[in-house]
């Protein structure tokens, strides 16, 4: 995260490869389910044995004795509707919820987040010299309406995407944050409204950022959790 500060985002998880190296982010939506993005995974039926999700730690490289870290193997990957670029990862066992590990709720189906809603992104990705590169960084971003965003992006915006406002300083997701959450505070609840997707620039100023709009896929998410 560029332009963020070290912070707390207990639903943000780190996805680790077999060498234990962080490569993408994700969000804990149920004790045994994480949402991330398709780009981070080689296929919809990839053998992810040896891959793990790390939760509860603020450090990018926590020590072996970090008491808060939960490392849970990934059991299964399920790809979302083709245009969604979402994946759900089933964990081998449920995460234990505590002060450092929490679920984030899903938005109501087809819910449109109002413009100016305060949201935040979180991740262990590149900071480009801002924040603290060794810990989880969080940055605040307000929602921008699709109407305004479409004008700024010259029409390159789908309904299945949502935007956060362009800021005067560089704030946004970067390498290693992909798959992580755009969490918005609505009615005193933290809601997973967006998923960070790979974008061509890290946090360029005066330019909105785009995310996958989760509310369009809530029916699929619930169906996967119910049927699997």
């Amino acid at each position: 995260v560029v332009g963020g500060t070290p912070g707390n985002s207990p639903w943000t998880v780190s996805i680790r490869n077999r060498e234990g190296v962080h490569f993408c982010g994700g969000s804990l939506v149920k004790e045994q389910w994480v949402i991330s993005t398709r780009q981070c995974f080689s296929s919809c039926d990839a053998d992810l044995s040896g891959y793990e999700v790390w939760l509860g730690t603020l450090f990018k490289n926590p020590g072996p004795n970090d008491p808060d870290k939960q490392a849970i193997p990934i059991n299964k990957i399920v790809c979302g509707p083709s245009e969604s670029l979402l994946v759900m990862l089933k964990l081998e066992r449920p995460a234990i919820l505590n002060q450092r590990v929490a679920l984030i709720c899903l938005p109501p189906e087809r819910y449109i987040v109002p413009a100016n809603t305060q949201c935040e992104i979180a991740g262990w990705g590149d900071t480009q010299g801002t924040g603290n590169p060794n810990v989880l960084n969080v940055a605040k971003l307000p929602i921008m309406s699709n109407y305004e965003c479409k004008i700024l992006l010259r029409d390159r915006l789908k309904e299945s995407e949502l935007c956060t406002a362009a800021l005067r300083i560089s704030v946004g997701a970067c390498e290693g944050d992909f798959g992580g959450p755009l969490a918005c505070l609505t009615h005193d609840c933290w809601v997973l409204e967006g998923v960070i997707t790979p974008s061509r620039v890290c946090a360029s100023k005066d330019r909105p950022s785009t995310f996958i709009r989760v509310s369009l896929y809530v029916d699929w998410i619930n169906k996967v959790m119910k049927l699997s």
């Binding site: 707390n8 207990p10 639903w11 490869n17 077999r18 060498e19 490569f23 993408c24 780009q39 981070c40 080689s42 296929s43 919809c44 039926d45 053998d47 044995s49 040896g50 299964k76 399920v78 509707p81 083709s82 002060q99 929490a102 679920l103 984030i104 709720c105 899903l106 938005p107 109501p108 189906e109 087809r110 819910y111 449109i112 590149d126 010299g129 590169p133 109407y147 309904e159 970067c174 390498e175 290693g176 992909f178 969490a183 609505t186 009615h187 609840c189 933290w190 809601v191 790979p198 974008s199 061509r200 620039v201 890290c202 369009l216 699929w220 169906k223 996967v224 119910k226 049927l227 699997s228």
Partner: protein
């Protein structure tokens, strides 16, 4: 530091079923079990029961008559390498395989016979002179041999290949699955499933596709060539000597505009990371030092500063030109579309779809709605009597907004959307028009420290 297990080839979750009297199971550790079997001349294999820690010594192997391999999750079957390997290490005097034809195609004479060729080799418990199998009782340099049934040819070599030549390696040997179990300096390899003498991260279960079997040389980390940890505590790991394939490599489809799976065959010229950071040239060691030298990884096409995947990472990547960001993925390169071609279309959400398409977007055949396997459906004809859940046709009984779907015949994919697209001109209402108040019925909460409590 050599483990007695080194002399055995392991078959996981497998039991050897045979007709003769079953031997009793004794409680002991797996290495002790291997030690006992290794010293007993009539022991050729053993079962190890991981549930009861029981050891059962066996006088036969999977190649013995009237035996059969059977899946049993509690058992591992360990067989002496000489009985199951089809290549030889050294002079092959421990070869106990069942080849009985010489290199020129002559049938071997049984060792117990003295005709057509009289000989001086007695059948002893330790020399393995069984049936008419190729053996090397006199440590002949050319390996196992036999007397032939042709009166004109007394004996002939069987031409069994040395393990280092039996299977060749292409590229950097990531796909090497041969049976060499010693390093280039002749040190025996440590088993991948053991953590002594060297602790290591390459647990066989964690890397199923790397085939980290027994103590055979492998290349699970994209090193220059296959290697192994050694049984010498002073030498952690060493390369193995394995023949390079001379024949042309299998032609794998390469791509330049998109990438498939992990993108190991991506050969395009994108040279910036996802967020636009320029890549470091592969033939340069600044700002990041690395071992992916183009000349040592010829098959990986490490040209210029193009995004590549020489190490089986999740996608093409590169070292970046930023000193504080070592590597980054090139996720902006599109994945090649692997969905199958659609054959039909649907209106709305497809809840009225009555067609006969019965495969998913990935081409997997649908499971019949009334069947209970491979998946036990929660949506089935009796529960949805108004929907025609016939055969294995794609349907949308729950009005899924992403279209018709089905349970699939693939064990790993419970359900998936079908190879059908919305009909042309069938426009869904925009969600952006309808932004009325929505009720939140669930909540994500966290404990934020109040600012007043910070100090």
């Amino acid at each position: 530091q050599r483990s007695p297990l080194n002399g055995f080839q392991r078959l996981k979750a497998t039991q050897l079923v045979y007709l003769s009297h079953q031997r009793e199971e004794l409680s002991m550790g797996v290495e002790e079990c291997a030690r006992q079997c290794a010293t007993l001349l009539d022991c050729r294999a053993f079962h190890y029961n991981w549930q009861s820690h029981g050891c059962q010594l066996l006088p036969l192997t999977q190649h013995s008559p009237q035996t059969q391999l059977q899946r049993n999750v509690h058992y591992d079957l360990y067989q002496k390498k000489g009985y199951v390997r089809n290549c030889i290490m050294g002079d092959g005097s421990d070869y106990r395989g069942t080849q009985s034809v010489t290199e020129k195609g002559k049938t071997c004479q049984a060792w117990r016979l003295k005709f057509p060729h009289d000989h001086r080799f007695p059948i002893l418990p330790h020399n393995g002179l069984e049936e008419n199998y190729c053996r090397n009782p006199d440590h002949d340099k050319r390996g196992p041999w036999c007397y032939t049934t042709d009166p004109a040819i007394r004996h002939q070599s069987c031409g069994i290949k040395k393990c280092e030549n039996a299977v060749c390696m292409s590229c950097n040997g990531e796909d090497y699955r041969g049976f060499v179990d010693q390093t280039e300096s002749g040190i025996e390899c440590q088993r991948w499933d053991l953590q002594h003498p060297h602790r290591h991260p390459f647990l066989p279960n964690k890397y199923p596709e790397k085939d980290l079997a027994d103590n055979y040389c492998r290349n699970p980390d994209s090193s220059e060539r296959p290697w192994c940890y050694t049984i010498d505590p002073a030498k952690e790991r060493e390369y193995c000597n394995i023949r390079k394939c001379t024949e042309k490599n299998r032609h794998l489809p390469t791509s330049t505009n998109c990438f498939r799976l992990k993108g190991e065959n991506y050969r395009g010229s994108v040279n910036v990371t996802t967020s636009g950071i320029p890549c470091q040239r592969w033939d340069s060691q600044t700002p990041h030092r690395h071992h992916f030298l183009p000349e040592k990884y010829e098959c990986k096409d490490l040209k210029e500063n193009y995004c590549r995947n020489p190490d089986g990472s999740e996608a093409p990547w590169c070292f970046t030109t930023l000193p504080n960001l070592r590597m980054a993925f090139c996720f902006q390169i599109k994945r090649c579309v692997d969905d199958v071609e659609v054959e039909d279309c649907y209106h709305g959400n497809g809840e009225e779809y009555q067609g006969t398409v019965s495969k998913t977007r990935k081409g997997i055949t649908c499971q019949k709605w009334k069947d209970q396997s491979p998946h036990r459906p929660q949506v089935f004809p009796i529960k949805f009597p108004t929907v025609r859940l016939e055969e294995n046709y794609c349907r949308n009984p729950d009005n899924d907004s992403h279209g018709p779907w089905c349970y699939t015949m693939d064990h790993n994919t419970q359900f998936d959307y079908c190879a059908i697209k919305p009909c042309a001109g069938d426009k869904k209402p925009s969600i952006l028009q309808n932004t009325e108040n929505v009720v939140f019925d669930q909540c994500g909460r966290r404990e934020d420290r109040a600012e007043s409590r910070l100090r």
